[in-house]
Subunit: 238 residues, 2 copies
Amino acid sequence: MNMRLEPSSSFAADARSYHPEDATWAIDVNELRKHVTVLRHKLAAGQSIYHAGQSFHSLFLVHAGFVKLVELADDGREQVIGFRGRGDFLGTESIGLDAYACGTVSLESGEAWELPFPAMLQACHQMPELNARLAAALAREIRTDHAWMLTIGTLNAEQRVAAFLLAEGKRCASMGFSAKHFMLRMRRADMASFLALTNETVCRVLTKLHDMRLIAVARREVKVLDEGALRSMTGQMA
Amino acid sequence: MNMRLEPSSSFAADARSYHPEDATWAIDVNELRKHVTVLRHKLAAGQSIYHAGQSFHSLFLVHAGFVKLVELADDGREQVIGFRGRGDFLGTESIGLDAYACGTVSLESGEAWELPFPAMLQACHQMPELNARLAAALAREIRTDHAWMLTIGTLNAEQRVAAFLLAEGKRCASMGFSAKHFMLRMRRADMASFLALTNETVCRVLTKLHDMRLIAVARREVKVLDEGALRSMTGQMA
DNA sequence: TTATCCTGTTACCGACTGTTACAAATCGTT
DNA sequence: AACGATTTGTAACAGTCGGTAACAGGATAA
């Protein structure tokens, strides 16, 4: 096995500031504060924001950090449903229920803003804009789930991992960091669960992509060397 | 191969009437009609209610029939995302977009009610209840997607098919028909796509479940002979 | 520091599932 | 009834991917 990526010192130098308010689906928190009491919560790595089964009363907005969503079955089976970062909602899947339907685990230190849901509904009545935004945010969540179902249903292991790396790069880019050089913020096992693969298969594929010179990977650090090749693997245009 | 299920004459004798208004997430269409013009559309088998890319302006409520949702990629890959029947919304995934994000194909003759979305939003402002219901319906959709991601990510082919049959049975039961004797309303290929399997694997598994005397299957007709065994295969309680 | 744990990596084997090919049954249309 | 098209079923074969195991490298704590 050849040398892996050496620990880098210069990392994402061109980070621009993040403007969630640019996006049409984003929520104006300052405006919202007039109607809803927003509580701030610090998050430690490994901590959960809410557990499945806990009584539902609030949505959360991830302000900093990175969170995984975990669906769990009665018999103990677990499935990573997705990852959420800055600007994403948590708890939306549980709207209309008495208890949260899935679990959340913070993967690094961060901050989440709690939005009590009854107050949110009232605010929706006062701010028609917010109403549309909330519906749009939920719809957006449905679409990303669908997109991953397409990925998992039609691509093999290699292609899934490639798609995942591109998606993570895109997420970084949307936050003003480099799309071609970033840190994975989840374990191999989480990535594997999300992609409906095993730990070992993900490792093997990463090594293969590395050997093919499409990426350079060392532990959680990833450099995308040939984005075009990755894209063409996954059937994505451009 | 032993004899398959013979064509049956007595079919779902105990059909009770269907009461969507019992469910907390359901929408009161009569009330809604005061605010929104509801258009009825007859559906023929094979017809699409909306195409991906078509401009988005309405949600639809399936009043009768059965519809598949299809996500399609730029390069032609297709994935069946789910199935919708009486009482389910269509188009929710496209809220906030200018164009529908996925395709719909009616699998049998039926009827869909069109709900112009701008009017829906206005109605939400007049009927706070509707607002909460719509959000709850979207959240419910997210949860069913998550549940299938868990199924596909953690179960093998045999277990997935078993889970699918149980789910279809449950859907029939919720409409007042038998949960143990029903017709599949989609092709093997659609089932396979939805479960992230191939046509042939689904056939093999159905045959195996038949030989194991857990079900009796002939083409699209299914009898559940040992529901408990199916459940325990999939890790579902009771 | 040392010890311990967790995560990540690689190798080997084989089962499950995809692939390919073809046959049979059903449906729709002429 | 006959024809073609579509859907479903079966079989043989091949390959990917999962299972298991062992080990290495970091991380964490004492």
